[in-house]
Each structure stands twice: as C-alpha cells, then as structure tokens.
Amino acid sequence: MDSNRFIARHVSTLPKSGIRDFFEIVAKMRDVISLGIGEPDFVTPWRIREAAIFALEKGKTHYTSNLGLIELRRAICRYVGEHYGLSYDPENQVLVTVGVSEAIDIALRALVNPGDKVLFHQPCYVSYHPSVTLTHGVGVPVPTMAADHFALTAAALAAAWQPGCKLLLLNLPCNPTGGTCSEEQLGQIAQFCVEKDLLVITDEIYSELTFEGQHVSIARLPGMTERTIFLHGFSKAFAMTGWRIGYACGPAPLIDAMMKVHQYSMMCASILSQEAAIEALLHGEDDVKRMREQYHRRRDFVVRRFNEIGLSCHLPRGSFYAFPSVAATGLGEREFAFNLLEKERVAVVPGSAFGENGRGFVRASFATGYDQLVEACRRIERFVAARGSGR
C-alpha cells in the first residue's frame, strides 16, 4: 500500500531542510572538524544545571500554568525591561514556550489565515519559510545583501512588499549571516510597518551575542510595542539548546491567542527547564558575559582568517556565525562544502540551506574551541590554495 497518499499536500510538497542531507554525510565520516553546528560549544553553566537538579529533588514534576511559572514570567519581565527597555505584564503579556521554535510556530498558527502573506528576510533560519507554509500562509522572502552587512533595509522590504502582506518576521542578529540592523535602519523598517499595517514577530535569540554597539529591539521603537511580538529564549546566550525553553512577549490579546494554540498542543514547557531558566535569568549574567567575550575573540580570528584566505567575509555584528562568500573559488556553495568536506574534512553549511539568497555563501560557526578553529582555517586555506593553483 502506498502510504504517501495519506500525507497532506502541503506537507508532502514541503522540502526537507537542506542541512539534513549534509548532516547525513558528515555523520558517517571520521575526524571531521565541524563548523556546521548551530549551538554553543559550552555546556550549560553548572549553577543553572544545579538549579534543575534541585527542583527535581524537591519534587517539581508537575504541569505548570499554560503561560508558564509566574516566577519565571516575572523574571522574564524584569530581564527584558533591563536589557531591551521593554515593559510587559507578567500576568497576561508573557508566554513561556518550548524554545523560540515553538513560539514562532504558535505565533504563525495564531495569526495567519490561509493565503495571508508573511515577509521574512533571507538568508534566514531554516524553519521560517516552512512554518509559514504549514499554516497555509504564503512566505515572501526579502533579500539581504553582503554589501549591507546583511542588514534588512526598508528599501528591500518595500520592494518585496505586496498586497496581502500581514506579518514581518525578523531575526536580528541573524542566523546564518550574523547581520543585524542599526537603530536608524530599524526605525525605517518600523515606519514602513506602521504605514503598511504589518505586525512584527521578532526573534531576538542572538541578541546577547552582539559584539559591537548596543542591541536594539524593534519592539522598543515608537508605535511598535503594540504591533510586535517579541520572541526570545535561553538556547544561545545561556548555552541551553537542549532544554528547549523560550518565551513570547506581546500585546495581551495576541499572547492570549498564542496561548490557545499552546494549551491544546504543548500544554506547558517542561517545569525543570522553567526552573533552570529562572536561575539563568537571576544569576546567569556573568556566564553570558564570559561566553560572549570568547565568541567575540573567536569571531575576530575566524573572519580575519577567511579574508586572508580569499573568502570575502563581512564582520558579523552578532551571533556566532561567519558567512563568507565562496565565489572566489569558482565553486558553488554546495560544491564548496562537499569538496571541502571530502578533501579536508571540514564541515561548513552551504548558504543555500538558508534560502535562495544564501547562494554563493557558506555558514561557518565559530562556537568551537580555538584549537579546532585554528586547524579548520589551516585546512580551508590549503583547500582554497589548491583550487587556485589547479585552475
């Protein structure tokens, strides 16, 4: 029997993540230095892990409120107040989710009617476009360019806009490019959103990992708090990817709508992760600072080396990704990644895994120890040099 006929059309036509097939190949190889990992190399700081153990010892094994533990929601409100200048009511404007991934999913499911159009900048995180498609919405990519340091510009946004656009998805600093927007650029985007009556969903998961200048949230700009859903989580800054814990803040009616989807699908986030998250917010600041400083130095090293090697690379202002162009090698991004893996055993992710606009680039994560980074760059240099002399 052909089981395929049971699969919903919009799922069967959904492409698999471009990262998946690449992962399958890398997983079978030995001695690979991977710059393909989208998570911190640090283990969650012990004080946070210990808080979860303590919670377990105390018998914290039950459901929590659908919205999440009130202590956590209060801590979130304090944290986003201090760090982003945003003011939310812990009673009805915060929802604790299973990572930002769930928050994106339920936000879209709560807001998108079939056929609604959702703008998002591209290259971008792999789930944005499929998440829109899964809600029967229509994804409208807005290209970001190396020349702009992969910042989203209001001009590009205006050029991509079309009637029926309802939402704008932002991810600044951005995975995979490390690009972000200046306050001025954000102001222009905000103005455009007000003009076109767009609601913004902003995923600021990398915001603590901003290396130059202060990170600014679009939610803080005039007129934007009431038309923005602010998403954040613990995975990157606190090195807590496996805990799957994040949150959404926004206008009460929107959070309430998201909560409806959340309560019927997820019920609540894991109580242990919530307890750990409280500890992270209350006492994790020094750990975040320590890790950020290390990423900062690694970024400076890796980006400088890529440019020396001849892979033109903009300086990412945030995140732990470098996004160099491989055009100079005469190879496409997939060819480059596969050949580099085969010849030198270094894994980078082809930029096209992050959308059409990632063509010609690869993503290299510098969330890896210095010794590995130094060796990986040496191998990439040898690979690029061999290409040059072979042509």
């Binding site: 993540s17 990262i19 690449f22 992962f23 890398v26 997983a27 690979v32 991977s34 393909g36 990992i37 989208g38 998570e39 190399d41 640090f42 283990v43 995180y125 792999v126 789930s127 995975n175 290390q294 130095r297 690694r298 400076d300 090293f301 400088r304 080396r305 894994a347 992710v349 895994a353 120890g369 210095y370 010794d371 980074l373 130094v374 760059c377």
Partner: protein, 160 residues
C-alpha cells in the same frame, strides 16, 4: 586583561604558534609578551594539573593553619616569605579569621610532612601554633574535575 594572558586562561593547550594566529600577532610577539608578563611577575610559570590519585608515586598533601606573632616593622610578610621558600610549601596565604597563614604542603610521605611541620615550621621563632590537616581525596583541582567524564562532545555534527 592582556589578550595573551586571557588566551592562556581560556585557550586550553594552544601552542604559541596557534596563539599568534588567533591574536593576529607574530609568534615572536607572543613570546615577547609572555616574557614581559613573566618579568612583571604576572605570569609566573607553567604547571600541569594532575590527578595525583592515578599516579603511583602520589604525594601526601596537607593544609596547615599557622598562627604567628606579627613583627614590628615586618608584619606577617617576613614570616610568610620565609615559610614560602621551603620546597615543601606549594602555596601560602595570609588569612582573616582564627589563624594567620594557610600553608599547602606536599611531601613524599606522611612522615616527611610531619617532619617538616615539627622540625621546620613550628620551630620558627614567632610561630605560636600549627594545626595540620591531611588531604584525603581531591575532587577538583584548579578548575579541573578529577573523575567526571568529559561533557562536551555529544553535539550533533551539523545543526541548523
């Protein structure tokens, strides 16, 4: 903090060549800075951190609380420096609280450590009393856990 120093602390076991690459300096510059840090007595030297319980010739270690009479003019410093010069002494700290100096001592055997305390340490004029505690087991040594398995190598090789 000096970037070379910072990298020494967080870079694990990078060679000076690798350090030079990371910091965008020449190897000579890294060596020069290390030398300078040594001259300033900021960077005192290299030492491996060992799990001595796995080493057959494991040494005996003790912590000794020492009470002394401070001297006019020299305070505790002259005593502390004098005690610190013994090879048996690994570390020596001036403390607040019920005693004055905390001295970490290593010896080949229990007898050797006992002999050091009774013959050298307690006979120094000005030492009022000593209280010796032998270390039974080490769980963490200078930031390294002794027996915990490595934690960080279970990341997937490629993730979004």
């Amino acid at each position: 903090m000096n970037p070379v120093l910072k990298l020494l602390l967080e870079g694990g076991s990078l060679t000076t060549v690798q350090m030079a690459q990371v910091l965008n300096l020449t190897e000579a510059e890294v060596n020069q800075q290390l030398e300078q840090l040594k001259q300033q007595r900021i960077f005192l030297g290299w030492r491996p951190v060992l799990n001595l319980s796995k080493e057959d010739a494991g040494a005996v270690r003790a912590v000794i609380e020492v009470r002394i009479t401070p001297e006019r003019g020299g305070g505790f410093n002259r005593f502390a420096e004098r005690i610190s010069r013994f090879d048996e002494v690994e570390s020596c700290y001036l403390m607040s609280g019920g005693y004055d100096l905390l001295v970490f001592v290593t010896g080949a055997s229990l007898q050797r450590v006992a002999a050091f305390v009774s013959e050298k340490l307690s006979t120094i004029a000005g030492v009022l009393s000593t209280s010796t505690h032998f270390l039974l087991r080490s769980y963490k040594e200078q930031g390294y856990l002794m027996d915990a398995p490595a934690e960080e190598n279970d990341r997937l090789t490629v993730t979004p």
